[in-house]
């Protein structure tokens, strides 16, 4: 008798679970139709997360603004953030999770080239629109019609830096680089342009990004006949450690760099003091202030460009009335200019957007404009 009763309870239980699941799925389906889902892939933890988190905040700010103004064609925008931790494997996993498991074909990311380049073919074959807010290698956006970039290419700024250093009167430099895909790109761009101008790259040190014992790299620089030091490592913090060791060895030469962020300045422990650098991070003062008020932290690389990437996607969806990645990619390919939080973005016709760089200097451990 008890066994029969148990069976009845079990049957009622199963029916209840099935009914609840059906209601949840139905409600979720209705909810899905009221929203437009996009994804983001970035470095949200570990080295490089200063850029990734700034981008994540930029995306969230844009989404909040879009939804506060009534959404896109009446639908709210929802973003699914995925942390790739700066690893190519994690980046591919995050992409597969968004595209294959969640059917999201509009993604903002990735933070760095090392995590973005492995996604080029995947994005192309799955017809997934991606806009990177801080990736520097042209191979990303030039690899597929579905890929865009709201951050200027690394080599452009590196070439400008070579001109800047040469015009400052330096002819023999040491380069602090790193064994990292995009840092090598920056190093080569600087090196080639500097040599083209008539300068000499006396020595290049390129430790592994994870390296901590860099005393001998610093010694190589100390031993070289140079009149300036150039760092092409920006967000890779081993560059800051080399600079620290160079200072400990008593080398007192002018230092130049590109795209330095606050994390690198902190890691250098004072060794980056008075270093001049070129950067594409020149957001509008309005965006800078709003960001600071909202998050209570100084704006970093990726923030305004991720905001612009989100706004560009919203504009494309609104204008085309579609969320189809191919239609959106075609629309974005025809955007020639866009005034956003990063400044005036000008399309290079290959999926990349460029804007003016500025010269800044490290003073008292903070970033200041060069007068």
């Amino acid at each position: 008798m008890m066994k029969k009763q148990n069976k009845i309870y079990l049957a009622i239980g199963i029916v209840a679970v099935v009914l609840i699941a059906a209601i949840v799925m139905f409600t979720d389906q209705n909810k899905k139709e009221d929203t437009i889902k996009i994804g983001s892939i970035g470095i949200y933890s570990g080295e490089g997360s200063a850029w990734g988190i700034a981008a994540k905040n930029g995306i969230d700010m844009a989404v909040e603004k879009i939804n506060a103004e009534g959404g896109i064609n009446g639908k709210n925008l929802v973003v699914d953030h995925q942390d790739d931790k700066g690893s190519a494997t994690e980046s591919v996993n995050a992409f597969n999770n968004l595209v294959n498991a969640k059917n999201i074909h509009i993604i903002i990311g990735t933070t760095w080239s090392s995590t973005g380049i492995p996604l080029v073919n995947l994005a192309d074959s799955s017809k997934t629109l991606m806009i990177s807010p801080s990736l520097g290698k042209p191979e990303f956006n030039e690899g597929s019609k579905y890929l865009f970039n709201t951050w200027p290419h690394d080599y452009l700024l590196s070439k400008d830096l070579a001109d800047y250093v040469y015009n400052k009167g330096h002819r023999k430099v040491a380069i602090i680089g790193a064994e990292e895909l995009w840092v090598k790109d920056q190093t080569n761009a600087f090196k080639n342009r500097f040599e083209e101008l008539g300068g000499t790259n006396v020595i290049i040190v390129e430790p592994l990004p994870s390296e901590k014992d860099v005393g001998t790299d610093a010694l190589k620089i100390k031993n070289a006949d140079i009149d300036a030091i150039v760092s092409t490592t920006d967000g890779i913090l081993v560059g800051a450690l080399v600079a620290k060791k160079v200072a400990e060895l008593g080398v007192d030469l002018p230092m130049y760099s590109i795209t330095i962020d606050q994390a690198a300045i902190t890691a250098a422990d004072g060794a980056y003091e008075d270093m001049e650098f070129l950067t594409s991070l020149n957001p509008t003062s309005e965006f800078k202030e709003t960001y600071k008020n909202k998050y209570g932290i100084t704006l970093d690389i990726g923030g305004p460009s991720a905001y612009d990437a989100t706004m560009l996607i919203a504009q494309a969806i609104e204008k085309t009335g579609s969320t189809d990645a191919t239609i959106l990619a075609d629309y974005l390919a025809n955007v020639k200019e866009y005034s956003g939080a990063s400044g005036k973005l000008i399309s290079d016709g290959k999926g990349g957007f460029n804007y003016d760089a500025s010269t800044q200097v490290v003073r008292d451990g903070t970033i200041q404009e060069v007068e």
Binding site: S45, E206, D213, L219, L241, K244, A247, A267, D269
Partner: protein, 294 residues
């Protein structure tokens, strides 16, 4: 010796001293427990973050913060032994399972650091960057001198501790033969715990010095334990003094090596040295000496 060669030697000694600080505690734990405690790296990292929190965030006196960080390291090591390894030992698990547990603990503790302190790089900021002191044509900072001296004192201290004290002798007895040691009344469980307490206290000292010399990041423990482990194998796994010798050899070979090779080959140099030892002297530097003594 030219000033360059002397500077390279100094650089090698500094690197070696850091590896030695990691390898000595790691090796002490291995010698008694007979399994590879990879989470030792995370104990170092966690203690360095504790120092950062006490000194840089709370503004507690540096000396007091140092004492608390070392005490924390000891307690953490002891806690790990009691909560995880002892439970596994009770179930008579193999060294392989203990090793897997240690890797799991390493990842768990690093994730905990990430949650508690965030992903960004931290600096303790006790010493500002300045030019080092000139010594026979080479330059060395006061902190680096302190790191080398501390390592040497630690080695001497450990040597005396193992040879002269009752606890040290008991540790050696358990290390040589656990069953015989128990017959003569030594509690192996107590010795295991003591090795974790002392080994982790050394990790705490390492954490302070490494934290001051380098920056802090959640995954720093993994990088440290890889080099510490390599040093321990080169020196002779299970021999604390061998591990220290291996650490200095590793540091010196790496630094002389990258003077001639591109910087990116540094880890390759370390592992080539490790492979050479594994192929031709698998018992490590002191392994031969110990066998000859026997």
């Amino acid at each position: 010796m030219s000033s360059i060669a002397f500077q390279l030697l100094i650089n090698g000694l500094i690197a070696g001293a850091i590896y030695a600080l990691v390898a000595s505690g790691f090796s002490l734990i291995y010698s008694t427990n007979k399994f590879i405690h990879f989470a030792h790296g995370a104990v170092i990292a966690f203690s360095a973050y504790v120092l950062y929190f006490l000194f840089s965030v709370l503004g507690i006196n540096f000396g007091f913060s140092v004492v608390l960080a070392i005490a924390f390291a000891s307690l953490l090591g002891y806690g790990i032994d009691i909560a995880v390894y002892r439970q596994l030992r009770k179930k008579k698990t193999s060294s392989v399972i203990l090793l897997i547990a240690s890797v799991g603990l390493l990842i768990l503790l690093e994730s905990l650091i990430l949650i508690l302190f965030g992903a960004d790089v931290k600096t303790i900021g006790f010493i500002k960057v300045s030019k080092g002191i000139e010594f026979l044509g080479a330059i060395i900072t006061p902190l680096q001198i302190f790191i080398i001296i501390t390592s040497i004192l630690l080695i001497v201290g450990l040597f005396l501790f193992m040879k002269k004290t009752k606890l040290g002798k008991a540790m050696r007895a358990v290390s040589d033969n656990k069953d015989v040691a128990e017959i003569v009344g030594i509690s192996s469980e107590k010795i295991y715990s003591w090795s974790f307490i002392i080994g982790s206290a050394i990790a705490g000292i390492a954490a302070i010095l490494i934290g001051l010399e380098q920056n802090l990041e959640p995954t720093m423990g993994t990088n440290l334990i890889i080099k510490g482990f390599a040093a321990a194998i080169i020196g002779g796994i299970g021999s604390v003094h061998g591990a220290v010798l291996g650490a200095f050899l590793l540091g010196i070979v790496e630094n002389f090596g990258i003077w001639y090779l591109p910087s990116g080959y540094k880890d390759a140099i370390a592992f080539v040295l490790l492979f050479i030892f594994l192929l031709f002297r698998p018992q490590g530097i002191l392994g031969i000496k110990r066998r000859a003594e026997k």
